[in-house]
Symmetry: C2
Subunit: 338 residues, 2 copies
């Protein structure tokens, strides 16, 4: 008959009334302040149980000015296993710090990245881990100056000095191409993602370094860039194989490209060698077991998350760049055409 029509959550003041104590005492009980008479503690706990009271964390963190116990993760696409692995390990580290994780996808759109960054700042997350989509991060500077902690992951930031954790793309790609060269290949097709992406640039550079050091002249017709989908990679492979002087091996710049290329080779029953950057779960089970440049994705996420919590914990040392090593996982190659 009263204002019971919409169910309203009880507040500490309701609990206080029910237990016959002041709101502050309820607050003390909730926060385990020891200086409350055990008998009152019991009364209060009883009332809390009866009413189903649950503290409003938002009000609590507003008043206390402490952490919101939330961090944000800005990534390309949660459906991509690379990103979801990172999200999982970041969430795990966050949980060990009693912190929740808000994950947002930018779909590799720089504008969306900026928008979501600012929105997460409005929510007063305690910190942010960012896998950059855009190439200019000076927009983060005002927030950084006002105390927002952030760590860049997989790609370094530009326009701001901040922590980052990246993998050794160039050296990894170089090692991969060297492996193909050592197997006797001289015509090696290289397929890379958009060069707007830092990792794609670095990997292409590494591949070129290997070729140059082996004295193999650089052939433009054997390099394709801006390949973003497996289908595109398949077309590139088809295209190069149909050319007059086709490659005998392929170096593919990421797992999506590798899968697309593999599919095309599989369809054709072609025996060109294939070596890709990024490992993936089923690589060993492929029709042709795949040699890949692998690295510890979980370690990548873990280091970024731990760096972030160091910062949140008050670490104010000079920003650092942490580099994760890659390793070549040999699982066999197609034989070079002799």
């Amino acid at each position: 008959m009263d204002t019971q029509d919409r169910p309203r959550r009880p507040t500490i003041s309701d609990v206080a009334a029910a237990a016959g104590v002041s709101v502050k005492t309820v607050s003390r009980v909730i926060n385990n302040v020891p200086s409350v008479r055990p008998e009152l503690v019991e009364q209060v706990l009883a009332s809390i149980g009866e009413l189903g009271f649950r503290r409003n964390d938002m009000a609590s963190s507003l008043r206390s000015g402490r952490r919101t116990a939330t961090i944000g993760l800005i990534i390309g696409d949660l459906a991509n296993p690379f990103y979801s692995t990172i999200a999982a390990v970041v969430a795990k580290v966050a949980r060990s710090h009693d912190t929740y994780l808000i994950t947002v996808s930018t779909e590799e759109d720089a504008e969306l990245e900026q928008q979501q960054f600012l929105e997460l700042c409005q929510r007063r997350v305690d910190g942010l881990i960012i896998v950059p989509a855009g190439s200019d991060h000076s927009y983060t500077r005002p927030e950084a100056e006002m105390g927002m902690r952030m760590v860049f992951l997989d790609r370094p930031p530009s326009g701001i000095l901040a922590d980052s954790v990246v993998i050794d793309n160039a050296l990894g790609a170089q090692a991969g191409v060297e492996h193909l060269l050592a197997a006797g290949h001289r015509r090696i097709g290289v397929i890379a993602d958009s060069l707007a992406i830092y990792t794609a640039r670095e990997r292409l550079n590494g591949a070129r370094t290997a070729l140059a050091q082996a004295g193999v002249s650089y052939d433009d017709s054997l390099v394709r860039v801006g390949v973003t989908h497996p289908e595109g990679a398949a077309r590139c492979v088809a295209d190069m194989l149909d050319s007059p002087d086709p490659p005998t091996a392929f170096f593919t710049g990421n797992n999506r490209i590798t899968v697309g290329a593999l599919g095309e080779l599989h369809r054709r029953g072609h025996d060109a060698a294939l070596l890709g950057f990024d490992d993936f779960e089923l690589a060993a089970l492929m029709p042709r077991p795949l040699t890949v440049i692998a690295y510890d994705v979980q370690e990548l996420g873990r280091r970024a998350a731990e760096r972030l919590f160091d910062r949140i914990g008050g670490d104010s040392s000079w920003p650092s760049e942490s580099v994760i090593n890659t390793r070549l996982v040999p699982r066999g190659l197609g034989l070079p055409r002799s």
Copy 2:
């Protein structure tokens, strides 16, 4: 020299002081209330830009009592592609409702599920999507009664009446086993996850129905349950193949089990047929292309998220159970031993 030592975020009161207006006027400008003189609007916006002001969303939603624009997703493990696909599509639907997503992993632990559920309620999320780990959800009832919206995904709740979205596990498994029977197999090994999991129970039931309807007597030695890892699945396959009267085909209850079983068959070069529940990206590229029971995981997540936002939007109709159909994707089987 003043309290500038720790960078403090400006508040609307700082903006008001800078612009020479009242805090309420700043609030009006922020919220696009039209009844403010354009000249003042400009002043306020200028001050906002200068100070780098950004509204505190937590304070805003506390005061206004409106939504927190956050929903929670409670799943088993974000690193599992099934769950990350769901998380991605839920995040997408959420974003279209200007809402953020907090994802937590239970690691299939019922106690952790309950704990995280309650913590998310404390955060005053607007709603929750839950993939149950536990089998009793009566603990959610007090929260539901106080207005917490929730939708159960992949597995129905027990102990509470609430919306759910599930797939047709029994019928799918039945169709899968029928497919193996139609190919002439009579000795079919069935490997299932822990029967504490609803989907595993349902799928096993479906498999048994198919066997029973075909008049194949049920052989306990051909059924393994409680298999949670690919390694376990591999051991089951090895074990059954090494038995005196080995199966000629396997029905595997989920994608982890399928991968483990496939690996073992691959190692042995064994030609037993394999048909699994759950599709996975590379199934078509496997050494033996895999026939699977597939379903639209994205649709599963999408329906749950849309149902949740219906509820948040005020829909108070009777709770519904939405069922997603499965389909058999034939990609070939090993031939039965003749």
